[in-house]
Symmetry: C2
Subunit: 192 residues, 2 copies
DNA sequence: GGTGCAGTTCACGCGGTCTTGAACTATATG
DNA sequence: CATATAGTTCAAGACCGCGTGAACTGCACC
């Protein structure tokens, strides 16, 4: 399994073929670890795995390669790449003579996560607030709602506000904290 | 964390007339809102709903009442109460002459959430770290792994550390922040 | 126009999670 | 001890999201 029709000049230099369709064991482990983290954060596991592979390899890969290495379907890869690109975590690069797109990992995975979570959470909180407000309105309109019941509802709303604040603060600090190591992920010394 | 798109509680409450026991529309909305939050945090939606009803009502309810009001099954209520009680968010109280237990909401919902999340996250991070370490070990043992690949793997590990730190910090601050309003949930001041 | 390949879209099926409902245990009461 | 009611457990099934694979589009080159 050495010769590839589709990888002619570019890869020839790194002859040792580890990419015949299954990952090196250590890669598999690391990639799955990232997949788990990403899943924990509410994304798809395979989104994380795709990013991880691209990042670990360092060089842009084609959709076909991702498909083979990660054992995913064509359609699946397409959708995953779509999402990742829209979120700005991977970059589409046109390869010189090859007719296929290639994808490269951006280093700001975290910024994506925090950004998307921030948006998601914004809409989320928004809805909660709206619902609680509506509940309050209805309760008032009803008229016959005991005073302390209303009071508890109001307290609930303030609780929501506080939780919201805590969440926002977290995202902000996470951004800052992690932002500090963005440089660490970046290729500071491209000596290859 | 799968459903950050739920059908708005506003309509949900109006749809099905009142075949339920006697859950006021405004209660339904507020309760569902809490359920959504709780679900967002990785728990079961109905755990949040149960707590919310108990909290809003202010007085202890029996399992049967919960079953009726929230339209849940007997078995389901049993399991939900079990979890909630173990986490210390509700309290089992013996009622004077009635032969059934009653359950009352504790006010430290958040402490539970942060506590459980903390534990969950601790084990989670632990495993990620172990996985990455293992990947690194394997990669080293393999011998033929390019240096920059190894370097990226290491960077990944440090990223993980930073994320971990950010998470811990979040939980801590959330605890503190929310702790401040525990008093607000308690039965003293009607207004925030 | 035709062939081949890259990429996209989407209905379906699989797998995992939550809920149900019934069988079971526990406890009280006459 | 028989009966009733409260509470628990668990297999079966409802439910839902994800990935698959096939049909489709688009593009390039012959």
């Amino acid at each position: 399994m050495k010769g590839y029709l589709w990888t002619s000049g570019l890869e020839a230099a790194r002859g040792e073929g580890s990419s015949n369709g299954h990952l090196a064991p250590w890669e598999a482990i690391a990639i799955d670890a990232v997949g788990n983290v990403i899943e924990f954060w509410g994304f798809k596991r395979n989104q994380g795995r795709v990013w991880a592979l691209l990042y670990l390899r360092g060089e842009p890969l084609t959709a076909g390669e991702l498909e083979r290495e990660l054992e995913l379907s064509k359609g699946g890869v397409s959708m995953l790449l779509r999402d990742l690109e829209r979120w700005g975590v991977i970059r589409r690069v046109r390869s010189p003579q090859d007719s296929a797109w290639r994808y490269a990992a951006e280093t700001d995975l975290i910024r994506m996560v925090s950004h998307v979570i921030e948006e998601r959470e914004a809409g989320f909180i928004e809805r909660i607030r709206a619902d609680l407000a509506e509940a309050h309105r209805l309760a008032m309109a009803t008229g016959s709602v005991p005073r302390e019941h209303l009071a508890r509802l109001e307290k609930m709303a303030t609780l929501a506000e506080h939780v919201e604040r805590a969440l926002r603060l977290f995202i902000k600090t996470a951004r800052l904290d992690v932002g500090g190591i963005l440089g660490a992920l970046r290729e500071d010394s491209p000596r290859s």
